[in-house]
Amino acid sequence: MSSLEQYGKVFETDVLVVGGGLAGVNAAIAAAENGAKVTIVDKAAIERSGSMGGGIDHFAAYLETGEQWDTRQAYLAYAGKIARGAVNLRVIDKIYCGELPAAIERLARIGNPLTQPDGTYYRTQSLGQPGPYMINFNGKHLKPRLAKEARRTGCRVLEKVAVTDLLTSDGAVSGVIGFNIRTGEVIVIRAKALVLSTGNTNRLFENPTGLPFNTWQCPADTGAAQSMAFRAGAAVANMEYLRLTVVPKGFSAAGLNALTGMGGKLLNALGEEFMPRYHPAGNKAPRFKLVEGVLFENQSGRGPVFMDCRHLSREDLEHLNRTLGYDKDTLPDFIRQKGVDLSKDLLELMVSEGMQSGPSEVCASGIKIDEECASTLPAVYAAGDCADQTRCCSPTIAGGYAAGKGAAKYAQSVAELRPVDEEQIVNAKERVFAPLKREEGLSHREFEDILRKILWENLGVVRTDGSIRNALSKLDKLEAYKDRLVARNLHELMRVNEAQEMLQVGRLSAVASLHRKETRFGVFHRRVDYPETDDANFCGQIVLQKRQGEVKVTFNPLTYEIPEA
């Protein structure tokens, strides 16, 4: 028995993928195809875990069909326009544009082509795009198909394991520690290189329905990678942005793109199509503008706001109903149980809960990555919604693959596994399991409710220097209550750990927001004390990194010339 086995079960691998969601399974396939021994660890089963486990319906891509909008240049110009100040064109050129053709081919190869049964692409336009980039497809079983491919390529999968900490040795990451959420067994995984891919941070802001798990993205994604990587010294960026969307009243479900892409119109209570007042693209405006429109119509007494699909042809309505179910399996049930028939009735809408997920569809927020998906920590790569430059379906599939390739290459350059510092294991175990031993204290639910209220009231759609400082001082007080958190069982222990990750992300978001003294992406970073967008001073990223226990804040300016092909 190696000395580490006294602490729990020990695994060794070349490449470890933390979070087997959409980015993670693609990373694992890439690393395996590039000769690495791969282990995927996830708190659920990779067949259905993560945000799109139950299905997905659109894949944004340019296809070089000869149309002027359908080129790499046009896509990059669009990205630079809708995500100015947050997207790094050089990075997405390399990892999104560079991997896009292979991603489309891979999906076809594993039996989930993006084409319709007749072999053609069904493309729609929405969310500020210059042309119909959204390929509609049936992604209901995409996740199990990718999982099958990962298993076929020989990846080892550890499921129902929540990863809680990165282990480091001499400044480099040597592996992770976590626990099995059903057996409580401690799991230590040693790896030569890691891909972090645990998604964005949800359950972070007060939920308009009062149901904290009624979230747009997967509520099991609570910022684990962002929080662990930051604690280990990695740089994070774009953390200040609040993300919101427009969803059916009562149900925070995906589907907005399908509705507006098929020609659905947003109407206010007076029956007016109001979006053209907010953006020239009207109902096909970028997401932050749609959110702004719905919010301001409601605040101006012209709410509630509705989705109107009554004018669509029978054929288009049929396509829409199918697509909605591909994207969110239970949305058609919800609409039916609500008694709404889209061909005859309006569907009431609301603004969703807030989350940490970056300001646009073309880039995200989180671990800062370079052209190889490498973080600033040696041996650590990141992709998907937890990284600052990849998110949504196609950038995540492409970026996940790029990260897996990068990690496999890195692992090959390392002769041996790094040593593991036993003291870190002892400390992590002590911290993670302490809530099980406490007789009384604060439940994760109460702790989270406090966090959500502080963040929504002070870091929501109205931010000022004063409100952000207020949030930070309250979060300091909440921090002290971490030592009082209790868990009655392993399921609650997982939730307690998630709550602490969320607190870490909330704090990073507040610090970054304090430094961005401007408004950008409308309500996604609305500093009412600095209401204008200030490109002269803030066209770039606020970057946060831990240095000697303090948060070091730097600014990474970004420019928008299109990189040479």
């Binding site: 798990f213 009624n214 149900f251 399996d329 997982m494």
Partner: protein, 68 residues
């Protein structure tokens, strides 16, 4: 709160427990029956229903979501 498991149809295979991304469902191994243990943590992804070969899962939205 969704989902609702039909005990007469459930054969205790455990797929829904394994595939739930949120750890909402736990199989009662003794009774060989899927139990919705944390109903208010369900995010209605539909995976349990999609993968139940017995058709034992029904998704029923709570009044709080339908009526607000």
């Amino acid at each position: 709160m969704p989902p609702r498991i039909d005990a007469a149809k459930c054969n205790g295979c455990g797929t829904c427990d394994r595939h739930c991304p949120i750890d909402v469902i736990e199989l009662d191994k003794g009774k060989r029956l899927a139990v919705v243990k944390y109903p208010d943590e369900c995010w209605h992804c539909g995976s349990c229903r999609l993968d139940c070969k017995e058709g034992a899962v029904e998704i029923v939205f709570p009044p709080r979501m339908l009526l607000v």
